[in-house]
């Protein structure tokens, strides 16, 4: 695996994903129960997790993993049903953007965002639901 080639692929694709996540969050701001943008963010964050893990960018994969879990819980409950949900999503997006910018600037793995990761953890006593099946066509295609 050529690290430079895959770092560049990561930078290209992650930048696109983050822009798309940003647009989806604006839609969720209007309607936190909207299924399609929530599914989209879930899928893109899942993709960020895979790329980060493949390159050894633990900060990216850890944050994306926790975010994916949180998104999974919201999807299972039919939407973002907590007042802190959207601010947490925007904060997570900013952290991921900072990490991608750091990779671009230094060429090395980015620093973690432990406070954001901790904020994404389930509340004490909150059960871990079985992960919902991936997006269904009717909801994703729009």
């Amino acid at each position: 695996m050529d690290p430079v080639k895959y770092r560049n692929l990561f930078l290209e694709e992650a930048t696109e994903h983050l822009a798309e996540i940003g647009r989806a969050l604006l839609e969720l701001e209007k309607d936190p129960r909207a299924g399609a943008p929530l599914d989209l963010v879930f899928r893109l964050v899942h993709s960020m997790k895979g790329m980060g893990a493949s390159l050894g960018y633990d900060a990216v994969s850890d944050l994306a993993h926790k975010l994916e879990d949180r998104l999974g819980r919201w999807r299972a409950r039919g939407g973002i049903d907590e007042p802190e949900g959207l601010p947490l999503l925007f904060r997570s997006l900013e952290a991921l953007e900072r990490m991608v910018a750091e990779v671009r600037a230094t060429g090395g793995p980015p620093h973690p965002a432990p406070e954001t990761v901790a904020a994404l953890a389930p509340a004490e006593g909150e059960p871990e639901p079985r992960k919902k099946a991936p997006p269904q066509p009717a909801r994703v295609m729009g």
Binding site: M1, H46, K49, G50, M51, K131, M141
Partner: protein, 123 residues
């Protein structure tokens, strides 16, 4: 004759990585698909020996695509591509008829061993 593989993943990064790993071992990537609808279309067109199928994809999930492909060809061989935290979905895919699974981040030896096992599997 090289094993003909169809690679389905919505991330270019992952498609490229799988391609690189399996081509280095003499497999032939005959096609790529970036969503769950395209993989069914490409399967019908290309008739690959094996499909690597991401689970989380747009338009149609990898699990739904497995069901559709197997409805078209009950002998199709499909290896799911999964990640940490997707154990329940992998089980669902195997119950739907997928042959086996590979895990991200990829360990090249494990990817190759799994694909060889899937291709050699009796129906």
């Amino acid at each position: 004759m090289a094993v003909r593989v169809l690679v389905a993943d919505d991330a270019r990064f992952m498609r490229q990585l799988i391609r690189e790993i399996i081509e280095a071992e003499g497999f032939e990537v005959v096609g790529e698909a970036a969503d769950g609808r395209a993989v069914v279309e490409e399967f019908t067109r290309l008739h690959p020996d094996v499909v690597t199928m991401d689970i989380v994809m747009p338009k149609r999930s990898g699990i739904d695509a497995v069901r559709e492909i197997l409805a078209l060809d009950a002998t199709a061989k499909i290896a799911m591509v999964s990640a940490l935290g997707q154990e329940a979905l992998v089980m669902e895919a195997l119950q739907a008829g997928a042959s086996d699974y590979i895990v991200k981040p990829f360990k090249p030896d494990a990817v190759i061993a799994t694909l060889r096992k899937v291709v050699e599997k009796e129906q």
